[in-house]
């Protein structure tokens, strides 16, 4: 590094590598957490395609179902499911960091905030499954 003036000490300025997120496991985990958003977006696209197929009539919907059964889509969706679950777990675990609830001057422990989140997740999932599969 060239000195701007002779009065400043000369110093070495390391540059952050483009692959900094591969240098430590914690950074990789962070990037995977962020990357989960791509699979969230994919899930939206899939849902929109499904609605379109539904609107286009039974034949098109059956075609859509076949398409879902193709190996490529199955693999893609299995990977998506992994990432979406990863997103949910990391999201609920981080919630207590952003939300501080004080009861009687004491901060509620992390678990008291993340546990209701996980419970809501379970209840909502069960409710959706029930609505879709009843009768």
């Amino acid at each position: 590094m060239i000195n701007p003036t002779e009065y400043l000490p000369k110093s070495y300025h390391p540059r952050v590598s483009t692959y900094w997120w591969l240098t430590r496991w914690v950074y990789l985990k962070f990037i995977l957490r962020e990357a989960s958003s791509v699979f969230v977006a994919w899930t939206v696209i899939l849902t929109l395609l499904q609605i379109r197929a539904l609107a286009a009539g039974p034949a098109r919907y059956a075609e859509f179902q076949d398409w879902l059964r193709s190996p490529l889509l199955l693999v893609l969706n299995a990977v998506s499911l992994f990432f979406v679950v990863f997103h949910a777990v990391t999201w609920f675990n981080l919630a207590p960091k952003a939300m501080v609830v004080r009861v009687g001057g004491r901060r509620l422990p992390n678990l008291a905030i993340s546990a209701p989140n996980f419970a809501a997740w379970a209840v909502l999932s069960a409710a959706i499954a029930w609505i879709l599969m009843r009768g």
């Binding site: 110093s11 070495y12 430590r24 950074y27 981080l94 952003a98 939300m99």
Partner: protein, 246 residues
């Protein structure tokens, strides 16, 4: 031999070197030794020119931060034996310019620290013979943040700071919270003006590693997310009540 360990240390002499390199030293591996003890051994017995900072040797001055095997650590609080059989790699703190060997230039942090106004701001001071009372609950609201020793390990761990040096960074924001949460302070909106800029809290992507490396459990990552929540509530309030109550 089991009772010796190899240490690889970054060397950089601004008068001669273009780039840093590593020197290896073999030092005794003693159970009670921390990494800083090994560095002092090198300086006393092997190479007197090795340059590094330290002062208190007990985790309170915050000057001995370095990168040990890739992770930001206070070298006076990091046991050598945890890295046996070695080798141990000791580098200067990441994300700061290196001045010599293990010494980094911390000026940037000091400027940012001052920007976040980490002192009590009052609209009107009480007369000197009156006290500011505080309950244990009020103390507890900010105590955690007041433990910060300005060691800058959180900056070394923060990829956002490494990539965008304009980012004001973890400790400065945590210390702003330290005063925002203090019942005696009235400066929250002044600080908000500075910290709600793009280079303030919004630059943070919640990597969370600042909190992991903090030796004092300050939890700067939590402080930043809570600050984001507060800033968002303010924003909503300003939207619902235009031209606010202030």
């Amino acid at each position: 031999m089991a009772n010796r360990i190899t240490i690889e240390v970054t060397r950089y002499d601004p008068a001669q070197d273009e780039k840093p390199r590593f020197d290896s030293f073999e030092v005794p591996l003693r159970k009670e030794w921390v990494v800083l003890d090994a560095l002092n051994y090198i300086k006393d017995h092997l190479d007197g020119s090795l340059t590094f900072r330290w002062s208190c040797r007990m985790g309170v001055c915050g000057s001995c931060g370095m990168t040990v095997n890739g992770v930001p650590k206070l070298t006076c609080a990091t046991f050598l034996s945890d890295y046996a059989p070695g080798p141990v790699r000791v580098e200067p703190m990441k994300n700061f310019p290196v001045l010599k060997d293990l010494v980094v230039d911390t000026s940037d942090f000091l400027v940012k620290l001052e920007k976040s106004k980490p002192w009590i701001i009052r609209k009107v001071e009480k007369p000197l013979d009156e006290e500011y009372f505080q309950t244990p609950e009020q103390l507890e609201a900010y105590k955690q943040y007041s433990m910060c020793i300005n060691c800058m390990l959180c900056y070394a761990a923060c990829p956002v700071y490494g990539l965008d040096p304009l980012f004001i960074g973890p400790a400065a924001i945590a210390l702003a919270q330290r005063y925002n949460m203090d019942s005696r302070d009235e400066g929250a909106s002044e600080r908000m003006d500075i910290l709600s800029q793009h280079d303030g809290i919004w630059g943070c992507t919640f990597v969370g590693e600042c909190t992991q490396v903090c030796p004092k459990h300050v939890d700067p990552a939590g402080a930043i997310q809570q600050y984001k929540l507060t800033a968002t509530m303010e924003w909503v309030k300003a939207l619902v009540l235009p031209r606010g109550s202030e």
